[in-house]
């Protein structure tokens, strides 16, 4: 019972290795079966995390602590709070969809494909659970490998370029993160992000990074190292250019994971590292983050408007939506951060659904160009209905999950500064414009070509996936309380912590234990 987080991490990885062992494509059916079973099991073990989560406490829960590399004081230290627990669930759930989405579309090297996704799912859970800085980093960087392979092996014609660009871009950030982590390690004597609960016996009790006093210069350096690492991952303007390439070339499953989970890692990093470890620098440079976020919301939104490729359009819309998330974080209000978190989860569902819908079309026609479509509603009415719902959610229509997060962030922005709120609110227009215009061109009108005429409506498998996502999108839009309840206490604690200055009052050197 206590090792639930380890199970959440290692179950998918073990299943992935098992699927890998089935070998060649002769056993493709077996590999798919094992992968699906593994994905379901992986999701199954995360459900008790939600059910057993104590929403009144801001402390870490389901904590595991074991020394790992004692020579460097690195520990295998896992735990979740109200901020991270939902992402573990989201990630495990999305993995099930991803395995299902590749059921028919992937016919070559099936075992490797499924293994890559399952292993990645485990590694991502590791990122969200890690409370040791080095453990976090190890998972953070290791998760690049499967995604690199997924894009490069099963991707589109320009996949090599996209895969290498993706890898190198994110590596730049993570190497700077590594330097910051090393600095914090030498300063604090350990990699503890959070306090070790008292029930675990350890030989040394080093100071946690949250409590570590740092001068404003140190904070600034560390803050910018974190910023580059996480901004690339989010991605924020102007380091976002890898994302459209990666999305366009990745197979459907890859795009889904990329949008639904991988982008959240950067934003999560801001909450886990930037705000608590360098609060003074975060306040000092909040203006920069807010400005970049607004550029993402408005400028990238306009860029999305002119895209001719559906996947690229959704990729740019993802960047714009993530701009909302970072905007929410750096206004330092509970409403803003909660709104941003809701937006992250909602975007996990909505973008996954959008990419799955595009995947449905692509599997049938092998084109993603908007111009190749038209009149799809005549041949695929059921699909058109689902696509409509998700497009509306992407545009932020009330009663869908997309609305809740955006609304909360805009409310927080109004409290913060009216003009920022005004600029942010423009997304409601731009977002609606690019999403609905694309929807109109693809779905409505006369049947554009023979290919569209030959389209078959969605299969039972696709129907199941889209129904589940539709329920999630609507459910979260109509009744977001189960989500906000979980995060509320932890967000308050985070804000309380981020409001305290960490600059040492007397000019003394902090002791290295």
């Amino acid at each position: 019972m206590t090792d639930l987080l380890s199970l959440a991490i290692w179950t998918p990885i073990a299943a992935g290795l098992l699927a890998l062992a089935t070998g060649s494509d002769r056993n493709a059916a077996l590999a798919r079966g094992i992968a699906l079973l593994g994905a379901f099991l992986g999701f199954g073990v995360t459900i008790p995390l939600y059910l057993g989560f104590n929403t009144t406490s801001h402390a870490l829960q389901f904590v595991e602590y074991r020394p790992w590399i004692s020579a460097f004081d690195i520990a295998y230290y896992l735990g979740v709070d109200g901020i991270s627990v939902l992402f573990v669930l989201l990630n495990s759930l999305i993995t099930v969809f991803v395995v299902l989405a590749g059921w028919r579309a992937i016919q070559s090297r099936v075992a490797q494909y499924n293994a890559a996704f399952l292993i990645m799912s485990g590694l991502m859970n590791g990122i969200f659970c890690a409370q040791d800085g080095m453990l976090f980093y190890v998972f953070f960087e290791a998760s690049l490998i499967p995604l690199y392979l997924i894009i490069g092996v099963w991707g589109g014609p320009n996949r090599v370029y996209a895969a290498i660009k993706f890898f190198l871009y994110t590596l730049v950030g993570s190497l700077l993160l590594l330097l910051a982590i090393i600095y914090l390690y030498l300063k604090s004597g350990a990699f503890l992000i959070a306090e070790i609960p008292a029930e675990f016996e350890t030989t040394h009790r080093a100071i946690t990074w949250k409590a570590l006093p740092l001068s404003i210069q140190e904070q600034a350096w560390i803050f910018f190292a974190f910023l580059i690492a996480f901004a690339v991952k989010v991605p924020m303007f102007p380091v976002h250019t890898w994302l459209p390439d990666a999305h366009v070339e990745a197979p459907t499953g890859g795009s889904v994971v990329l949008a639904a989970i991988a982008l959240k890692l950067g934003a999560y990093g801001f909450l886990r590292f930037s705000l608590p470890v360098t609060p003074d620098a975060a306040h000092e440079y909040a203006w920069l983050l807010i400005a970049l976020s607004l550029i993402a919301v408005i400028y990238i939104g306009l860029v999305a408007l002119v895209q001719a490729d559906m996947k690229k359009l959704v990729a740019y819309s993802s960047i714009a939506h993530m701009g909302f998330v970072t905007l929410g974080f750096f206004m330092f209000s509970a409403l803003g951060i909660e709104g941003a978190l809701v937006q992250m989860i909602s975007h996990g569902f909505v973008s996954a659904a959008m990419f799955l819908c595009i995947g449905v079309l692509y599997d049938r026609t092998h084109t993603r160009q908007i111009a190749d479509y038209g009149g799809v509603v005549n041949t695929m009415p059921k699909f058109a209905a689902f696509f409509m719902l998700f497009a509306m959610a992407n545009a932020g229509l009330p009663a869908t999950s997309g609305f809740v997060g955006e609304f909360m962030v805009i409310l927080a922005a109004v409290q913060f500064n009216f003009w920022i709120a005004m600029a942010a609110a423009s997304t409601l227009i731009i977002g609606a414009a690019y999403t609905l215009w694309m929807y109109k061109r693809v779905i409505f009108g006369a049947i554009a070509s023979e290919r569209v005429r030959a389209l078959a409506d969605i299969s039972a498998r696709e129907f199941c996936i889209l129904t589940l996502l539709a329920l999630a999108v609507l459910g979260m839009g109509l009744y977001p309380k189960p989500f906000t309840d979980v995060m509320h206490t932890s967000v308050d604690e985070l804000l309380r912590h981020a409001a305290q200055s960490k600059i040492p009052q007397t000019p003394q050197i902090p002791q290295i234990p």
């Binding site: 590399i69 490797q112 980093y137 490998i145 090599v160 290498i164 190497l175």
Partner: protein, 514 residues
């Protein structure tokens, strides 16, 4: 003036020969002579008897280390033999054991390759390998300039011959020539430097030099910089850089790696790095810690240049052996960062991180060349990157193994290469060299590109019409050994504690010697 300094030999029995302490070396020497004779009677073209005897000898030397090792010597300072010329401390036990182990694995990997090239499959190849191992062993234990130089020459001369073994190959002959000439220059510089240090300290004993330099610095003679000493140091550092292959003394590395038969390349690329690390430690850290400020800054320049040149030039290579040569240069640069980050707080960490880096580098390189050797066959070297196109479709298992090796070299976790880089960077930051760490990180990013490119060839491309790696003809044992080697890299990455502790204890033994 130096006569007034009390002799270092008052501390221990200078006349003691303690021959038994060098039992592994003596065993190696005797057996290499025996094998040379026995080989005359071996008729089989596979040289099975010679091969088996060689491996048994190495294994025997490996076991002898544990007999020589004093039970309590983990924390103890070194024990001396040959009147102080030869030292056995934790560092030498560990490095010798690693060298013997590495050579055993190397020879297993090379066996089929040698057999398929009859010019190379002679008894002499194995004898030369043993002699080179003997040389490394002597280098590791040497505590006097003379045995140190002798060991270096035994190793180098054997290696030159091993490169030239394939007489029919023009490239190999050229590589041997180049290696020999540049190696001779390196050795000459070392001798020159040693003679100058001798001139300044009037001693060839490493411990004594350390002692005298310390006294000289206390007497404040060093405030008037001793030109002879400084020049000697420069030559010694340059010679070490030559032997390790640090930029700007790296010219021989790409040509020798590329031109030499792959089996020999594997030999040169692995165990001699351990011995090179040993002499660097003995000459700089052991003999001249007082001058650390001076050699530290020289090493820093070498390190930055090596990382930059190695990583940048590797990008343009199409031959995998040449690419690994440039990658070796950049890894040497990383190693030197560890060595250069000696600050009063972090002496132990600096040496330990360097040792950890070298050892993981040797393991990783073993696996990399092991895989190349698996795919080589008669008339086909499997050394172009393009040969590995679409490897994943034909040999998914070995493609995965190669991927592990490449990711480890690039420094991606969970592979041990990551912790090696982490330890070195940590030491640099600890010593306050933030810029050095930043430069290293920047270039390792560039380095990641060409490692990723290998993965791209294996996984993203499909094999075309051109010649490509086909079936693996090696036996099950070698395949299992290569796999264990590669998986070991992953395993060491998850549980690096043992190797870390070993590196620390060994590095500390150097400090205890003084």
């Amino acid at each position: 003036m130096l006569d007034s300094i009390p002799s270092f030999f008052q501390d221990f029995d200078a006349t003691a020969l303690n021959l038994m302490l060098s039992a592994p070396e003596i065993f190696l020497l005797v057996m290499s002579c025996v094998i040379l004779l026995v080989d005359l009677a071996v008729k089989s073209p596979r040289r099975t008897t010679t091969f088996a005897l060689t491996q048994i000898t190495l294994a025997g030397a490996f076991v002898l280390i544990f007999f020589v090792m004093r039970p309590r010597s983990l924390e103890e300072t070194g024990v001396y033999a040959f009147g102080g010329m030869f030292v056995n401390d934790m560092l030498s036990y560990a490095l010798k054991a690693l060298v013997y182990f590495t050579v055993i694995v190397t020879l297993f990997y090379s066996r089929r390759y040698l057999h398929e090239r009859q010019a190379m499959c002679r008894g002499e190849y194995f004898v030369l390998a043993l002699l080179a191992t003997l040389g490394m062993s002597v280098m590791i234990s040497a505590h006097h300039f003379l045995p140190l130089y002798l060991g270096l020459e035994i190793m180098s001369l054997s290696l030159y011959a091993m490169v030239a073994m394939n007489r029919n190959s023009v490239a190999a002959t050229e590589a041997a020539m180049k290696y020999f000439i540049l190696g001779a220059i390196g050795s000459g510089m070392l001798l020159y430097g040693m003679s100058m240090v001798y001139g300044a300290t009037e001693s060839l004993f490493i411990s004594e030099i350390g002692e005298r330099l310390r006294i000289l610095s206390v007497l404040d003679i060093s405030s008037n910089p001793d030109t002879v000493l400084a020049l000697g140091l420069v030559f010694i550092v340059a010679a070490i850089a030559f032997k390790l292959g640090a930029v700007p003394f790296h010219m021989w590395i790409p040509d020798v790696y590329h031109g030499a038969p792959t089996a020999t390349t594997l030999f040169i690329a692995t165990a001699p790095k351990l011995a090179g690390f040993a002499i660097m430690l003995r000459l700089l850290a052991d003999a001249m810690p007082v001058l650390s400020v001076d050699w530290q800054s020289m090493l820093m320049v070498l390190a930055v240049l090596s990382i930059a040149v190695g990583n940048l030039v590797a990008i343009m290579q199409t031959n995998i052996k040449r690419m690994l040569a440039y990658s070796a240069i950049s890894h040497i640069g990383f190693m030197l960062i560890g060595m250069a980050s000696t600050d009063t707080l972090s002496f132990g960490d600096a040496y330990a991180s360097t040792m950890f880096y070298v050892v993981t580098y040797v393991f990783t390189t073993l696996a990399a060349f092991g895989i190349i050797l698996l795919f080589a066959r008669a008339g086909f070297e499997a050394d172009e990157l393009a040969h590995y196109k679409g490897l994943n479709q034909r040999h998914p298992w070995f493609a995965a193994m190669m991927m592990i090796v490449m990711l480890s070299m690039a420094g991606i976790p969970f592979f041990v290469g990551f912790f090696a880089k982490f330890y070195v960077l940590k030491t640099a930051v600890m010593a306050g060299y933030y810029w050095l760490a930043a430069v290293a990180v920047l270039f390792s990013l560039i380095g990641a590109f060409y490692y990723l490119r290998v993965i791209k060839y294996m996984y993203f491309d499909t094999a075309g019409e051109e010649e490509a790696v086909a079936r693996v003809e090696s036996g099950f044992f070698v395949k299992a050994l290569v796999s264990a080697n590669a998986l070991g890299i992953a395993l060491l990455g998850i549980f690096p504690d043992f190797l870390l502790r070993l590196s620390r204890t060994s590095a500390l033994s150097i400090l205890l010697l003084q």
